[in-house]
């Protein structure tokens, strides 16, 4: 794990060909780095937030791994994978974390790496652990980019997410609010960062009804949001059949490294195999329960699954059975 304070010197030296244009390496850049070096050790982040570590799997690509947990005060809402990609002209942020404070820590970390402005904030889907850091980037005036359904999903679910966040995190949720997308992706969109282009693709209802993926063509890094979980049990909050159909399609995307919404980066498309197996098993078991005329409550109590193979199985498996049942009972 890379640790911000230890990396200040390294970071302030250009590392890749996508690093800021030469003029940015001058006095301004040094000044920014000096300011960050100070702030990272002093006032930059709330004391309760764990150290904000970044990894750098490809040139100009930075990932912060959230903890594999439900949101609690112990993890301060820092449970989803976040990151950013640095071009010559622009930085694109991919997901912003579970609170304003997490988003703020991510922004500070970006400023520790580069002075290139944040022009884009991409939200992979509506869930609070991925979007509630958005407010920390408002001053950068980026395009907030998301699925064409994201704004509607945020409106419908955001107030409840905020209530739950305040309930579970107390004052750690301070300043967190819903920040809606300003740029909608219906099918796909290209984002030019200067010297590298990101391809954002919108998918049919799968993990949620507002999932997008982000492909960085130059490094062949594929950001999957919660279309792919590694380690953490997959969560069905959209459509189980849609999820499996989308996985079958995205696994053909030409990429080398997959960055899931939860869990470690993995090779592609190998990263998707375990999840597909779990979801396929869920589909089979729930269909069988419906055919046997078991009720939703009975299905939730009786359908097991790969309990030993996943983190957070107890937190999400029953929920997945409920969601799958409510969807599949309408099958002809």
């Amino acid at each position: 794990m890379l640790h911000p304070q230890r990396l200040d010197r390294e970071r302030c030296v250009p590392q890749s060909r996508w690093r800021a244009a030469p003029r940015r390496r001058g006095i301004l850049h040094v000044a920014v780095c000096a300011a960050i070096a100070w702030s990272a050790t002093a006032a930059a982040r709330p004391p309760e937030l764990p150290a904000f570590a970044l990894e750098n799997p490809a040139p100009g690509v930075y990932v912060h791994y959230g903890q594999q947990a439900e949101m609690t005060r112990a993890n301060a809402g820092d449970i989803a994978n976040l990151g950013f990609i640095v071009g010559a002209r622009c930085v694109a942020v991919i997901d912003t974390g579970g609170t304003y404070a997490v988003g703020h820590a991510l922004r500070q970390a970006i400023r520790g790496i580069t002075a290139v402005p944040v022009c884009y904030v991409i939200n992979t889907h509506v869930h609070p652990d991925h979007v509630f850091g958005n407010a920390a980037f408002v001053d950068d005036r980026p395009d907030f980019i998301g699925h064409a359904h994201l704004a509607d999903a945020m409106r419908r679910k955001g107030p409840n997410y905020l209530n739950a966040l305040r309930r579970d995190l107390g004052d750690m949720a301070d300043e967190t609010r819903v920040v809606l997308p300003t740029r909608a992706v219906s099918t796909s969109d290209e984002i030019d960062l200067g010297g590298r282009t990101l391809s954002v693709r919108a998918w049919r209802t799968a993990h949620t009804d507002a999932d997008v993926t982000v492909l960085d063509r130059s490094s062949r890094t594929l950001w999957l949001g919660d279309l792919v979980f590694v380690g953490h049990l997959p969560v069905v909050d959209g459509s189980l059949r849609g999820y499996l159909a989308v996985l079958a399609e995205i696994r053909t995307i030409d990429a080398t490294v997959a960055i899931p919404g939860h869990g470690r980066a993995a090779s592609w498309p190998g990263a998707v195999a375990a999840e597909e197996r779990y979801l396929q098993g869920l589909l089979t078991d729930v269909r069988a329960a419906i055919k046997a005329k078991r009720t939703l409550a009975e299905a939730v109590e009786t359908i097991g699954g790969e309990r030993g193979d996943w983190l957070l199985f107890d937190a999400f498996h029953k929920r997945n059975v409920s969601a799958a049942y409510a969807e599949l009972e309408w099958e002809e």
Binding site: R156, P159, Y161, N163, T205, S239, R319
Partner: protein, 279 residues
């Protein structure tokens, strides 16, 4: 009238949200419940329900949008004594009165299984009234789900696309005089209209099922006044008492006065199933 009362209680429910957790210890301490008790029942005494109905809920709402619950009667629907009304109350939902179910002796059993939305930590109550006017209450505490589960539906566009489609079926073998189980499924977004558009500062248009009536051979067996505390695609499992063949007919009205109906033709010994599109 339930709808107007619901509107008032929406305000109460929202105001009480902040205190939701503090109230978990004692169901009698719930501010919402005290208001409901006064408004619906004029503070009439309510006995524990153990001998009359039981309420089954999960301890935790695994999916906040789809929480299965079951109300099961402990007394037969006799001609002289029967349960005529069951109120389903979810204290800390924006609209606490989720449903009012009405039964008759022809219902056979005053049972109801359905799915509800759970906004936050809350008491859930089933209050049964027998035909002599006595009240009985079963109450469970349900923990809210984790932070990434919301009571809103999963796929708003899909829910609207099939609005009004219905399915009804009877699985039991029919024996005249013996209560048979029926299931009614209604494809409907059951939207609360509580989502605020942050740009226009206006609320979405509420669109939810408000009335369900089921008759067997022309006689009512189950009626329900419901609202958006019932999950998307409302689903009801209930009983009726067959006396041979005949038709089981369901009529549904939503708050925009759209009407949907479906009918299952039953023969003397077997159950049946039917589905219909919006009319």
């Amino acid at each position: 009238m339930v709808p107007r009362f619901i509107r008032l209680l929406v305000i109460v429910g929202l105001a009480s949200a902040v205190n939701a957790r503090a109230q978990d210890a004692n169901p009698d301490d719930s501010a919402v419940w005290r208001k409901v008790h006064a408004s619906l029942f004029a503070d009439a005494p309510i006995e524990p329900a153990d001998a009359v109905v039981t309420l089954e809920t999960p301890r935790r709402a695994e999916d906040a949008a789809i929480v299965p619950i079951a109300i099961r009667s402990r007394i037969a629907q006799g001609k002289s004594r029967y349960i005529d009304t069951i109120w389903l109350i979810i204290d800390n939902n924006p609209s606490p009165i989720a449903a009012v179910f009405r039964f008759t002796p022809d219902s056979g059993r005053a049972d109801m299984e359905t799915r509800i939305r759970i906004e936050q930590y809350t008491h859930v109550r089933a209050i049964a009234q027998t035909n002599d006017g006595k009240l009985y209450m079963a109450v469970n505490y349900v923990k809210a789900s984790g932070g990434c589960s919301a009571p809103a539906g999963k796929d708003a566009l899909a829910a609207r696309a099939t609005l009004g489609k219905m399915r009804m079926r009877v699985d039991d073998t029919l024996v005249p005089g013996r209560p048979a189980l029926a299931q009614l499924m209604i494809s409907h977004p059951n939207d609360s209209g509580l989502a605020l558009d942050q740009i226009t500062r206006t609320y979405a248009v509420p669109h939810y099922v408000r009335k369900v009536e089921v008759t067997y051979a022309g006689k009512p067996v189950m009626r329900a006044d419901v609202d958006f505390s019932i999950s998307e695609n409302p689903n009801f499992r209930f009983y009726f008492t067959p006396d041979g063949g005949g038709e089981l007919e369901a009529t549904v009205v939503d708050n925009q006065d759209l009407q949907f109906a479906t009918t299952v033709k039953l023969d003397a010994v077997r159950g049946g199933a039917a589905s219909s599109m919006a009319q």
